[in-house]
Symmetry: C2
Subunit: 635 residues, 2 copies
């Protein structure tokens, strides 16, 4: 069947391209149709061929050289170095004879690519190999290096996997019914363990698979109900972003027998691995149940297919997926699905920020079509209005100033990913502009590593940061005010020193991580300050301290001690990566086209219901807040 | 496991009963715990033992003699005939050595049972065998005879089946989650193919499995979705009543691999078999697709466990079922479920009549507890008020009179089950009281057979009919105005005769059946009258004629002809077996206790939505009208 389909596609390719161009064979690899040719130069010479093939065949097309025409790697590397200007900074090049690709790691990928891809095409013409360029990160990221090494070592089984998935995606659909449904598996009327099943009679897609960190029970989405059984009946997993409440239990799927693809952005893939490894590391240190091994994290990684924002991609015979910027954290995406014969469109926001932040552009709310929107409601409550970004910045500034004046230290618990970098950019900017004296900003936990991943994907940052980095050569993440804490002796030194400083440490909700060490030792000194810059979920220590608890029981070396909370506690809301109520309402109000139905999740029950009410009354939309385990039919 | 449980139960039985009473062994048979004993007389002497065992063990208890103590069947029969008064009219007795039961078929079962079961106990004391009494129907029903013969022939495999189901019902529950959900598989926002899945983490129960007769597509409930896959993951099927839109596709479940029990009343079981056989017979005559064979209907029959109204029965470790009178047709039931640890209660009305009719008492609306009510909405629309029963009767009377006066014939298309008997009772009553001249009432299709089944279960009729039959010895169904049509020559004779008459014939919505033959031949004569007494679903010929179509294309002997509708067309609403809007609202308003949530089904979309609206506004209840394929969570 797949063989016949490929034969037919080869014939259609040959009918479209100029007669003198040879096609050796065609092959599905994941969502892409790969054309192998002895004449890669001729394809490379004519950028239009691929575009017109993609348009005619309605598939994503990749052209690769037939292995026969590849020149010797050593000679090829010489040629590459001749073609690319020295400022491109080529660090490394890896040749993969199976795909005919050479992966070039460069300081400035733009110079390897050239205007409209001209340099890349020249390389291709000269060496036969298809060049792919990745950025050499300015901060070294062990995560990224490990991921790249691992994927290289697994290239054979990955190729086999991509071929299998490709054939599955491009099969003839067999279902007769046309319904489309959404089942809430987790994260509805609650924050945590986000997971939806989007299903048609043909296809099952899991959107996110998060963990409920703050909860003792109800940790996992409902993965054992008939709708998702057996687990390998799922066709694809799509991840909106890397935070654990959205991607923390993805490896569990593989542990239970899932063997299909995960679609997400490259930064999400890398951040996800970082956060998952940290999650099981913390669990093991705390002696709590470890849900999966690092081997399973690698298994999930091997099954990840990365997509760029805006790429329309077949992920099933009846479903096309497009990811769009969500403005929440690096690589975060709104997942837009265009579904089958019924021509129905539904988008899942994941977590969204509908406001320009220091890091990201505001989330996208224009789609070719959209009938149903599934939207987060974290701050959807009647009174959930956040201060402006300016107010938040000046409150942070004045709080730090006040703390310095009384000789205290500032602890900022933060998610390693997102809030930390946002706060780093504010601090760097404030210090650089002389509005705050230059004090050290200690980064503890995985914050530096997460920052390194940010520097590897500057194209995911907002326009002004990209300008600063690409055109002014100024990368604020590289400022010398940031000091990595890499040992417990260093931590002790910071705690004991008299010097004022800012400590940015994980976890963000005070449920574990190095921030606990600082809190234990600095909480009883009223000169110090604890600043919350992110959402504190119900059930976490962060939420308790926010509520005004003054004594916190603590187990330490087997004994239970009590920490007195004497330090100043401040919440600064404006740094949230979430939209506030106004932003959520405006996001929907200004959405083009208008959806007819909005399904709310990712918010406490009251907030979901209040936002649904507002959407019905103010925008005259059908708005519902399903419970977990409920199924809503769209068509 | 089951063995241990039974050992333990035997010990508990022995601890409760008097020491001198022997217990040979105990066994699960379906939902019942059967105690085999060498001393059945001692149990029989003391009616309280069984009641107190049932109370203490919280199980339905049946006592049977140990096979060792059974006396010779011939001698036993002599003894029975001596004990029972001759007026009891014992026709037949069948001894089953496996169960130690003797099935006694009598004209007057009451005389075999005796006051408070005294006669039955005396029989038991004398012969060892456990007597069970069934009524010898006053009209011979081939259906009932075939069913009884078949079940006797299958007693071994049925015993094995009951043992297996018994052990499954009484297993230790293993699920940890406590949720309860309802999934709409069919019959929501439509009339036809009624089917719900009621599920907990432990148990799946299918309520009804109907067919959409009026539809070309969407004939079947959604039985292929993950929630009910594989089909043998269903633990039990519960049927509210026998109509095809509720029970027509039950055999399909067995065709696809279901092997579990069907719970329903005895009349529903018999009527269901009658209607299913007729359904496949019509399909075969029309050359349309036959969904299942008669062998599969028998398979379903073998799996049916009958329950009386009001019997609380374990059907799963976490679910108890009680059936209550629904007032709709013979044996129709509201299915009340009492669920597990959460102590949650939900009732499914099936189709209900909340008004005393000529045949039945009004449906029950008092339950020990109820949180959610799933209710039909056939006549739930804003303007769906029906005339009173009296108005309907006098309209029927005057219409027939008018037709007789002009020398015409009256055609009444009717469901064989329900409306036919209702109309028969009105006609018999009107003629007997001299308010209508004595004209023949022809019964065509399965109406006489369905009526025979009604005469076999007079205890399911209303109080005044029971009085008439039991105490006055007057059974209106036996009146000589009713004439069975049993051949096409008889049919032709009726059509060609000049004599006025009433023709009561199936099907009720003019989509097939013998009524078509009458319509074809009598429709163009304006002296004749067509009277609709039941609901005409969208898409049926009945609905089209109601809407005023004057020409009906018809295929006859390969050619397409046109029938002119010149006869008088009258709709008389008051005979409906469904509650009208007022009755539906009153049914909920007067329900004790009040449910907190009402889920509506079995009505066109607009009617479901309008009734939901009324329930919210007038009764301040949460009311929803889910779509097929949606899942609602109760807990």
């Amino acid at each position: 069947m797949a063989g016949d389909l490929l034969k037919d596609l080869k014939r259609r390719v040959e009918a479209i391209i100029p007669q003198e161009v040879n096609v050796s064979f065609v092959e599905f690899e994941g969502p892409e149709l790969v054309i192998y040719t002895e004449d890669p130069k001729k394809f490379a010479d004519n950028g239009d061929i691929i575009r017109s093939l993609a348009k005619d065949l309605r598939k994503r097309i990749v052209v690769r050289p037939d292995p026969k025409v590849l020149i010797d790697p050593e000679k090829a590397l010489e040629a590459i170095n001749e073609i690319v200007p020295e400022e491109g900074g080529i660090n490394d090049a890896y040749f993969d004879p199976d795909t005919g690709e050479v992966l070039i790691e460069a300081d400035k990928p733009g110079l390897v690519i050239g205007k409209y891809g001209e340099t890349l095409r020249e390389i291709s013409r000269n060496i036969g190999w298809t060049p792919k360029v990745v950025r050499a990160p300015p901060l070294h990221s062990a995560t990224i290096k490990n991921i790249r090494d691992y994927l290289r070592s697994e290239k054979d089984s990955r190729k086999e996997f991509l071929r299998r998935i490709g054939q599955k995606i491009h099969r003839e659909p067999s279902a007769k019914d046309n319904w489309i449904r959404i089942t809430a598996l987790g994260g509805c009327r609650e924050v945590g363990r986000s997971s939806f099943l989007l299903s048609t009679a043909e296809t099952k897609i899991l959107i996110d698979c998060g963990v409920n960190i703050g909860s003792d029970n109800n940790i996992s989405p409902y993965l054992y109900i008939p709708e998702v059984s057996p687990i390998d009946s799922i066709d694809a997993v799509v991840l909106t972003h890397a935070h654990l409440d959205h991607a923390g239990l993805v490896p569990l799927l593989f542990k239970y027998g899932y063997d299909g693809p995960i679609y997400t952005t490259a930064p999400t893939r890398d951040l996800m691995v970082l956060l998952q490894l940290d999650y099981i590391d913390i669990a093991s240190k705390e002696g709590s149940k470890i849900p999966y091994s690092s081997a399973i994290i690698r298994e999930a990684l091997k099954h990840t297919i990365i997509l760029n924002y805006g790429e329309v991609t077949d992920i099933a015979p009846d479903v096309k997926l497009t990811l769009h910027n969500a403005g929440h954290i690096l690589g975060s995406a709104v997942a837009h699905f265009h579904i089958g014969q019924g021509m129905y469109n539904v988008a899942f926001t994941g977590d969204i920020k509908y406001e320009r932040t220091l890091l990201f552009d505001p989330t996208v709310n224009n789609f070719p079509r959209i009938e149903t929107l599934v939207m987060e409601a974290t701050y959807g409550g009647r009174h959930d209005f956040q201060p402006s970004r300016n107010e938040a910045e000046s409150k942070l500034q004045s709080t730090i100033k006040r703390t310095i004046e009384r000789g205290g230290k500032v602890i900022i618990p933060a998610f390693a990913v997102g809030r930390s970098q946002e706060v780093m950019i504010v601090l760097e900017d404030t210090v650089r502009k002389g509005m705050l004296e230059k004090i050290p900003v200690y980064l503890d936990g995985m914050i530096l590593e997460a920052t390194a991943i940010h520097t590897a994907y500057p194209e995911y940052l907002n326009q002004s940061l990209r300008n600063l980095i690409f055109h002014k050569g100024m990368n604020p993440f590289l400022s010398d005010i940031f000091v990595q804490v890499d040992s417990s002796s260093k931590r002790q030194e910071i705690i004991e020193s008299d010097e004022s400083c800012v400590i940015l440490a994980t976890s963000g909700m005070l449920n574990g991580g190095p921030v606990m060490e600082y809190l234990k030792n600095l909480a009883d000194d009223p000169r110090n300050t604890l600043i919350f810059v992110g959402y504190q979920a119900e059930g976490t220590l962060g939420r308790r301290i926010q509520k005004g608890w003054k004594e916190i029981p603590f187990s330490s070396g087997g004994r239970t001690a009590t920490i007195k909370i004497n330090l100043e506690v401040i919440t600064i809301d404006g740094f949230s990566g979430h939209s506030d109520r106004n932003q959520l309402l405006n996001y929907v109000r200004r959405m083009r086209p208008q959806p007819s139905k909005v399904i709310l999740n990712h918010g406490e029950e009251r907030k979901c219901l209040e936002l649904a009410n507002a959407l019905r009354k103010k925008l005259k939309l059908e708005a519902i807040a399903p419970q977990n385990l409920e199924t809503v039919r769209l068509v």
